[in-house]
């Protein structure tokens, strides 16, 4: 017998009273209304789209794509912003605008990889801990989570990244390691409150297996906070990545990374201000875009008015 989330269930009377994921698309009109009610969310969406498109099509969008790699042109070094170089050139003569566009790539890749690696285990652990709340599984999982959360995130990432070789892969590992606990905590709270709802109890009473309950009953109801958090987290992961590259951990030159560009450029302040200000503004833009869009997603997924 089909339950409302669209899957087969073994329990004949399983009544899933929750709002299933598939309704997101049926309600697309209303969801879009909720999202677009706030013009800032639209701005965020536009910014995010611009960034994603720039990253994907970087070689075609950047005016000087070869300058994003190993390239020197000392004659042109330190040019202020002009029509040929929208953000000026850096100390090695490379076009800063092109480098920024390519840096978006590294940033987005980092965000995607980190979240892809951190979210599933985090969610899984949180679901399990939340469902078996009160048992030893709960205690073990949550105490371990507490340990990772005991240190402010960036500090742990810095520490891990510093003991390993500085490169993009290790930076991603470091950030992943301190990112998963947030999802565990989120899911723990959500799952442990949902598991007391009637539809879960009904499923249990009719003999549904634990696996089914966790993945077919509880998880679909946790999806909105997860997606909201993911949308917001992209910005934060990129920020941590920028912080890491600011101190020299993470992506190594000559591949451009935003944090590293800011830190390199800072040495040439105030005369060559563009070398640091434009990469810095790029970081702000990314964060702004994902924050605004994330807020819009939250408005959309939350069961509010309307």
């Amino acid at each position: 017998m089909r339950n409302l989330s669209g899957g087969q269930s073994n329990s004949p009377i399983a009544v899933n009273l929750a709002r299933p994921k598939s309704l997101f698309w049926t309600n697309l009109g209303r969801n879009w209304y909720k999202f677009s009610r706030n013009p800032l969310s639209i701005i965020g969406l536009v910014i995010v789209l611009v960034i994603i498109i720039s990253a994907i099509f970087a070689p075609w969008i950047a005016p000087y794509p070869e300058q994003a790699g190993p390239f020197v042109d000392f004659e042109n070094a330190g040019q202020p912003p002009s029509l040929q170089h929208l953000c000026g050139t850096d100390n090695m003569g490379r076009d800063i605008f092109s480098r920024i566009v390519f840096a978006f790539r590294g940033a987005l890749i980092m965000a995607i990889v980190v979240l892809a690696l951190a979210v599933p285990p985090g969610v899984l652990l949180g679901l399990i801990a939340g469902y078996f709340q009160g048992g030893w599984i709960d205690t073990v999982i949550m105490r371990i989570t507490d340990i990772f959360l005991a240190v402010p995130p960036l500090i742990l990432a810095l520490a891990v990244a510093s003991v390993l070789e500085p490169n993009l892969m290790n930076a991603m590992i470091a950030v992943t390691l301190m990112w998963w606990p947030w999802y565990t905590r989120l899911l723990y709270g959500t799952a442990s409150s949902i598991k007391n709802e009637y539809f879960v109890i009904a499923a249990e009473l009719t003999g549904a297996g634990k696996f089914h309950i966790i993945f077919r009953e509880i998880l679909p109801n946790c999806l909105s906070p997860i997606f909201t958090k993911i949308a917001l987290d992209v910005g934060w992961v990129i920020l941590i990545g920028a912080s890491l590259s600011f101190v020299g951990l993470g992506q190594q030159p000559p591949t451009p990374a935003l944090g590293q560009m800011v830190s390199d450029g800072a040495r040439y302040m105030p005369i060559f201000w563009w070398m640091t200000i434009f990469p810095a503004l790029a970081i702000v833009l990314i964060l702004l875009g994902f924050n605004l869009m994330g807020d819009g997603i939250r408005d959309m997924l939350e069961r509010g008015m309307g």
Binding site: L40, I147, A150, P152, A159, V163, S243, V262, L287
Partner: protein
Amino acid sequence: MKLGSFLLRRFLLSIFVIIGLSIVIFIIARVVPGDPARMALGPRAPEDVVQTLRQEMHLDKPLPEQYFYWIKGVFRGDFGHSLVSKRPVLEDIKEYFPATMELAIFAGILMAIFAILLGVLAAQHKDTWVDGLIRVSSYFGVAIPAFVAAIIFMLLFGYYWPILPVLGRLSPGMTPPRTITGLLTLDSLIEGNFPAFWDAFKHMILPAVALSLGGLFQEARITRSSMVDNMHKDFLAAERGYGIPEKIVMFKYLLKPSLISTVSIMGLDFASLLSNAFLVELIFNWPGISRYGISAMLHKDLDAISAVIIVFGVVFLVVNVIVDVIVALLDPRIRLGTARDM
């Protein structure tokens, strides 16, 4: 009183977490390929000296044993030696820790005060230009990372508009006060040394503002939304209906329940404050433990790195406990146990 047992439970939990943290740190530190003894002595030291050091550092023993030696040392206050400063790490920590604490506390206070002010303002003038302005500012405030703000401040105040100092804690030529607490502002006040106080205070302003920006606006938004949520609650309508004046309803009966969410998030925001301190201290050349930590990390100074992380872990834990206590004070339901049923 239940508050006591609540605190006790949190305390025990914290101990457990710190122990776990120390294990994790230890594992991380030992993961580094390379030979700590050789790194300490340099590539030109003779092999037998290095071997002696290896034995002293218990590097030949199995990992769990190494951990116990290390923990024993930590309890005695011996965090090992720094490769960079060549001193016991404990000395380094004692020297740099107060500077960071001073900055963090000041930034934390700034954050709390302005967050509540702005949040209340935004909620009271909901949907007007005031609310809109605060909302837009908060989007930018949250999107501007502390180190970017720090760099912009450097640019603005370091060169174009030098009304505030941008480097270090005290201007050269200014006599520092006696070290009582290590907090320059406090110490100079205690001594009555007002010029030093004012100088130290001015030095703190820019880094503290840069640090507090993100958290400030985020808390302001939470305060606002918490107030807006509570505005629609029945008890407010009831209180209004009984004739209690609007001002009292807003500032007493609306504010207190709304602050609960704000204070809850202050713990997390303090964490990001501490994190951001790493980069901000670097930029402003603030001689704090974060700058020391970064230097340790870049030089793979393992003992120092581990010590710094433990210190931050402990500080963060203490702050969280304090925040939990304040929340318990605000919300009697937490303090006095759960509700009695009908």
